[in-house]
Every structure is written in structure tokens, then in C-alpha cells.
């Protein structure tokens, strides 16, 4: 029995918990390679075609077509899984699309006690209506604050980008990628996209900030970004961990089966030791 299997069974025995790596399994054990999207913000023209395609694909109301909506930074919402923000840095504005990052080891999926939030084998992180009990622990845990909750519905859902999982299953590409007129978005295997991103940086080092956002952030994400300006100027909060977020509660989870097996033995021993002769 290997270490993980041990902890799994020990944990389950006490109805507790276990492996911290739904995503890692995919990469390390070489089962299936994750898909990803590369966002090249140096190419993006801010046309918001991706926003409209996303809304249409998932049956949301058509977004406000007035570009004035970009005057303030927007976050994805319960009716918009993907939004484009304009950042006025330097002479030309820079546009960056924001949506679920589809982490390799997502905090939300590891936080979910019903596996409603699930890292699929292919890479998209999806939410499943029939499992979710609406505790919103995924929202507390997500370092990018992506999952959104329908507070005004008696049958609320969690809304977030699912990387057009249904389209991928039919062999398609995400709606936003398909809609992009300038190839600012590319879809493919994550490792291929990382190679492509590095190629673009090395071919044109003057126009790219070194580094690919998402290569290491949060332990690696399914959305990868290239930019000509520092990433923290594009609304990416600094201080994101480079290790995966489930890693943060791993030590605690590993201690659980230990406490679960040692405590009763210790307590019983103390109880016996304090027993009076007359008992």
C-alpha cells in the first residue's frame, strides 16, 4: 500500500479526507495532458468578440455593447463568465480577458465537499448542479475570486467559465477562442502552448515582458498570459502563490488520520491509568 492509498483508507475510515491532488494526478502520472488557452495581450484589440461569443454559447443575455463598460475594471459575474478589461498603461491601452484560470490543482475543486466543482481529466474545471449544496467554500478558497453565486435565486447556481467543456467533448474549441479575430487567443495542449509562448518571447524580446503568467502561478493554470507590460499592471493581483493552493491545507489533512488513530489510543490509556482500584 503506497502512502497515498494508506492515507486515503485511513481517512475514509474516519470519514475524513484525503488526497490533495485531483489535478496533479493528470499531469504527473501522464494520464492525459491538460488543454489550455494562451492569451497574448499584445495582440488583443479589445473588440470583446470573445465576451459576446461566450454569452451566446452559454445562453446569457447579450453584454452591453457600449465600450464605456470598460472604463472600470470588471470581474466575471453571474451572467458573464468572461470579460475584457482595458488597462491604460503607457501610450496604447492594453486589454486583458478575465475568466476562470482552470488551475492544474484548483483550490475550488479541492475545497468542494461534494465534488460539484471538478477538475476534469482534460483540464477544464467544471461545476455540477446536482452535486453542489451552495456552501460557497469554493469562493472563499479561489485565489482569483472566480466562482460567482446567484444570491437572488431560490435555486442558486455557481457561475464560472467551464472552458466550453461541452464543445471540447465534441472535439471543438472554446467559443471565445473561435470568435477571436486577431488570434490573441490560442487553444491547445498546455505544454504546446507554453512552448509557443516561449517562442514568441524569444523571437520578440523587446515587446514581451519576460515570463508567462500562469506557468507557475497557483501551481500552474490552464489560462496562460503573455504581456508587454508587467502583469500586475493588468489587474493580476501580486502575491499569488507559486505552489498550488490545495498544498496549503495538505499538512493539516495529513495530520487527520494520525490524530484519528492516535487520540483514541492515548485517551483510553490515560483513562485506564487514572482508574481507581475500587472501580
Amino acid at each position: 500500500m503506497d502512502r497515498r492509498a494508506f492515507i486515503q483508507s485511513a481517512g475514509l475510515a474516519g470519514a475524513s479526507l484525503v488526497t490533495v491532488s485531483s489535478g496533479r494526478a493528470g499531469e504527473e502520472e501522464g494520464r492525459k495532458e491538460f488543454v489550455a488557452v494562451l492569451v497574448d495581450t499584445t495582440r488583443c484589440i479589445g473588440c470583446r468578440s470573445c465576451e459576446f461569443a461566450c454569452a451566446e454559447e452559454h445562453g446569457f443575455p447579450e453584454p452591453d455593447s457600449d465600450d464605456a463598460v470598460m472604463d472600470r475594471e470588471r470581474a466575471p459575474s453571474i451572467t458573464q463568465w468572461s470579460v475584457v478589461n482595458r488597462y491604460d498603461v503607457g501610450e496604447e491601452p492594453v486589454y486583458a480577458k478575465k475568466q476562470c484560470m482552470h488551475c492544474n490543482q484548483p483550490a475550488c475543486a479541492s475545497a468542494c465537499l461534494t465534488k460539484a466543482m471538478l477538475k476534469t481529466e482534460d483540464g477544464p474545471v467544471i461545476w455540477r448542479e446536482d452535486k453542489c449544496m451552495g456552501c460557497r467554500f469554493c469562493m472563499i478558497s479561489c485565489p482569483f475570486d472566480i466562482p460567482k453565486f446567484e444570491y437572488d435565486s431560490p435555486v442558486p447556481k455557481i457561475q464560472k467559465c467551464n472552458l466550453c467543456w461541452e464543445r471540447l467533448r465534441d472535439g471543438g474549441v472554446p467559443a471565445c477562442v473561435e470568435a477571436c479575430p486577431v488570434e490573441a487567443l490560442s487553444f491547445g495542449k498546455r505544454t504546446d502552448l507554453l512552448r509557443e509562448a516561449n517562442r514568441r518571447i524569444s523571437l520578440d524580446p523587446d515587446n514581451y515582458t519576460p515570463g508567462i503568467y500562469g506557468e507557475h502561478e497557483a501551481g500552474g493554470t490552464g489560462y496562460l498570459y503573455l504581456a508587454g507590460v508587467p502583469f500586475d499592471q493588468l489587474g493580476f493581483r501580486p502575491g499569488i502563490e507559486t505552489t498550488s493552493y490545495p498544498e496549503l491545507s495538505k499538512d493539516y489533512l495529513y495530520a487527520v488520520p494520525i490524530v484519528l488513530t492516535l487520540w483514541p489510543a492515548f485517551l483510553l490509556a490515560i483513562s485506564n491509568a487514572t482508574k481507581k482500584e475500587s472501580d
Binding site: T19, A111, P143, F149, L248, V259, P264
Partner: protein
């Protein structure tokens, strides 16, 4: 045939008598129109209406929760603080059944009952906060075990611990119903339940802290630490005991008729012992907090608003009460112990709310402030718990001596009259 029909009549008579007993017990005792009852009725009625609105129109209709603040006081206060307050049960059962400190036996039942009701009501209040409560059974029936989730552990442990506490408490129910054989059997389960209960409590008290481990960038560095689980566990010890102290001093007034004069005299001695344990664990807690603070090199944050707020929590609501406890134990002043317990409990409320609500996203431009409806429903949960507590204490042998019941099982009282004479607080209570 004849004997058969006789036994049937007997059975029918017996069940009719039992039914009458239950009915008579269900009736309220004492005056109905007391100020407390009137206020309680109003609070419960308003809460019932609000809950209808909440389930008809969603969480947004009654709460100020937002995409930035998915957890408010229903989680931060009702569940996370409420469970810390209920920690007295596992500490007292540890002292009485594992360490066999018989001095504390008289408060076992009331403490376990309080703990049990706290879990039922405060953890039960979680159902109001869940967006999709009809799926609450999913992590239990096994069609989707999210075993890598700290929440999964907490959910299971809440459920198992409620059962455990009910088993610990069940002898009192059997005594109330006069079921002697059942009482004997339930008494034999106590030690096992206690040991299981302490283990579960260790894990879910710390687990509530572990819930926030993944929110690393979102909680102010003065409160976020990888030691959150340990801090939550250690503080649940003195939080629970402070609640036992405060609750005991209130019980002495409210349930005076239930307590024998001997109990009231012995109670001061018990409280002083608990105050000593509180002081000890609070020193440990304070030391841990200082270690985390120094180790994290957090000096730079002290001169900020959040830094002052941190100092308020640490000095006024940890350092001051721990000093008061220490002083009061030395000089035996009961009033000071009560003040210390109140300060300690406020400190726990602050700490739990800081981690879950106040220091959470301290950088957000829009703060979460609970709506009056969230506060109203929280009040209603407390009121409902108090009503059930009062109903049980006035009927079952919780505080009073159960009139010469035979004892058995773990923790049974020494029968020798000599020992009884020396320790007047001891009598037949729970096992």
C-alpha cells in the same frame, strides 16, 4: 389466549400511560406570559417570516452577502464561533471521564446538553446559509465524497459529534422516562462516546481554522498563519470553559429551583478550577500568537488600523482576561472570574469574526456589514436554543439530583458515606 389478551391490555395501558406522561411533560411549566417569553415569541415569529422570504427569494433578499464576501455572520458567528463556544463539552468530559477529576462531575450533564444543543442549533443554522440545502446529504450518502475538502471533514464530524454528544447525554433521557434497563445500557456507552467525541472535537475545532488555509492572500497577514488549526483548537478549550463558567453563573439564578443548596456551594469550587484551566490554556494561546507574530515578522503592520485592531483583540480580550483569571484564582473572587469569562468570550467572537469576515479581504473597498435580518435570525436561533434548554432542564435530571437512582458504568459515584461527607458536592449524577 386469556393470558395473551391480558398482556395486550397491559401493553395498551402502559403505552397510554406513557403517552399521557409525554403530553403532560410537553405542557409548559410556570407562567406563560413572562417578559422573556413574549420577547422570544416576537423574535421567533419575525425570524419565521424572514426565513420564508429567504427560501422563496434567495440569500440576497435577507443577507448582505456579496461576491466578495460569500460568508457572513451566519457562518462566522453562528457556526464558527458557536462551535468554539460549545467546546466545553469535550473538555469537561475529558476531565471527568479520562482524567477522572470527580470534582467536575456535577456539571457534566448541563455542559454536554449545552454542547449538544449548540451543535444542533448553531451548526443546524448552516442549513439557512446553504444555497442548495436539499443537496446537504450528498457528502453523507456517498455519491460524491469530496474527501480532499476540509469542509468534508467538518461536515462529517459535526454530524458524528452530534450523535456522540447525544449518546453522552442519553442516560438523562432514560432516567426522565424511567427506563432503567435502557439507562444502564446507555451508561455503558459513555466512555467510548467520550473518547470518540474528544477525538472528533480535536479535529473539527482545528478544522474550522483549516477552512481558511487556502484563503492565504485574502486574510490579513496578522491573522493568517499556517497555525490557524492549532490556534482554533487551543482557543476552543478556554472558549468552551469560559462559556461553562458564564452559563453556570446564569443557571444558578434561572434554574435555582433545580439546584440543591449543596450544588450551589460546590459550584464556586468547580468554577475556580475551570478558571485555572482557562488561565493556563490562555497563556499557551497568547504565547503561540506571539510566536506566530514574531516569526512572521509582522511588526510593520502594527502601526496600521488593522494593527491596532489586532492589538485590541490580543490585549483587551486575551491578555486582560488571562490576568483577571490568574488573579481571581489566587484570591478566589467569583465576580472577577465572571468578568474574565465575558471578556474571553467577546475575544473569541472577535477572533473568529476577524478571520472569517473582518480581516478577510481587508483590502476590499466595499465592506460586508450584516443586515438586520441576519442579526434577527441569529438572535432567533439563540432564543430557540434557550427555550429547548429550559424545557429539558426543567424536566430531566440535568442539574438536580436524580433522587437515588442506581448508578453504574463509568464514573459512578463512590458509595461510601464517608467520602460523601468529605466532599459534599458529590452525589449521584450522570455517567
Amino acid at each position: 389466549m386469556a393470558s395473551n389478551s391480558t398482556s395486550l391490555t397491559l401493553l395498551a395501558n402502559e403505552s397510554r400511560r406513557f403517552g399521557r406522561f409525554l403530553l403532560s411533560e410537553l405542557k409548559p411549566k410556570g407562567k406563560l406570559l413572562t417578559p422573556f417569553n413574549v420577547v422570544a415569541a416576537v423574535i421567533l415569529l419575525v425570524a419565521a417570516i424572514l426565513l420564508v422570504i429567504r427560501f422563496a427569494r434567495g440569500l440576497g433578499a435577507t443577507t448582505n452577502l456579496s461576491q466578495d464576501f460569500p460568508w457572513g455572520i451566519w457562518i462566522g458567528f453562528d457556526v464558527i464561533t458557536g462551535v468554539a463556544f460549545a467546546g466545553g463539552a469535550y473538555v469537561i468530559t475529558f476531565m471527568v471521564y479520562v482524567l477522572r477529576l470527580e470534582k467536575y462531575h456535577p456539571i457534566v450533564r448541563i455542559t454536554v446538553l449545552n454542547g449538544f444543543l449548540a451543535y444542533v442549533f448553531y451548526a443546524g443554522a448552516l442549513l439557512f446559509d446553504l444555497g442548495r440545502p436539499w443537496n446537504v446529504i450528498n457528502p453523507i450518502i456517498g455519491n460524491s465524497f469530496g474527501v480532499s475538502s476540509v469542509m468534508f471533514l467538518v461536515a462529517w464530524h459535526f454530524m458524528l459529534y452530534m450523535i456522540t454528544e447525544f449518546i453522552e447525554f442519553s442516560p438523562a433521557v432514560a432516567e426522565w422516562l424511567g427506563w432503567k434497563k435502557v439507562r444502564k445500557f446507555l451508561g455503558s456507552l459513555t466512555l467510548g462516546a467520550v473518547i470518540f467525541g474528544i477525538t472528533l472535537s480535536t479535529l473539527h475545532q482545528s478544522g474550522l481554522g483549516a477552512l481558511f488555509l487556502m484563503a492565504k492572500d485574502k486574510i490579513h497577514p496578522l491573522w493568517y498563519t499556517e497555525f490557524l488549526p492549532i490556534l482554533f483548537f487551543v482557543s476552543s478549550i478556554f472558549a468552551g470553559l469560559s462559556m461553562v463558567i458564564l452559563e453556570g453563573s446564569i443557571s444558578q439564578r434561572v434554574f435555582k429551583s433545580q439546584m440543591s443548596p449543596l450544588h450551589r456551594v460546590g459550584h464556586d469550587e468547580i468554577v475556580r478550577g475551570l478558571a485555572r484551566v482557562c488561565a493556563g490554556t490562555m497563556y499557551v494561546y497568547f504565547f503561540l500568537k506571539v510566536l506566530v507574530f514574531v516569526h512572521g515578522q509582522h511588526w510593520t503592520y502594527i502601526m496600521t488600523p488593522m494593527g491596532f485592531w489586532f492589538l485590541v483583540e490580543m490585549i483587551i480580550f486575551v491578555l486582560v482576561p488571562v490576568r483577571l483569571y490568574t488573579q481571581a484564582v489566587r484570591f478566589g473572587t467569583m465576580g472577577v472570574i465572571r468578568v474574565a469569562s465575558v471578556l474571553t468570550l467577546i475575544g473569541i467572537v472577535l477572533n473568529r469574526l476577524n478571520v472569517s469576515v473582518i480581516a478577510y479581504k481587508w483590502y476590499a473597498p466595499e465592506r460586508y456589514i450584516p443586515s438586520w435580518m441576519e442579526i434577527e435570525i441569529t438572535l432567533a436561533i439563540i432564543v430557540a436554543e434557550l427555550i429547548v434548554l429550559r424545557w429539558i432542564v426543567n424536566r430531566m435530571p440535568i442539574l438536580r439530583e436524580p433522587g437515588g437512582e442506581p448508578t453504574d458504568g463509568v464514573g459512578s459515584r463512590p458509595e461510601s458515606g464517608e467520602i460523601r461527607h468529605k466532599e459534599p458536592t458529590q452525589w449521584v449524577t450522570s455517567t
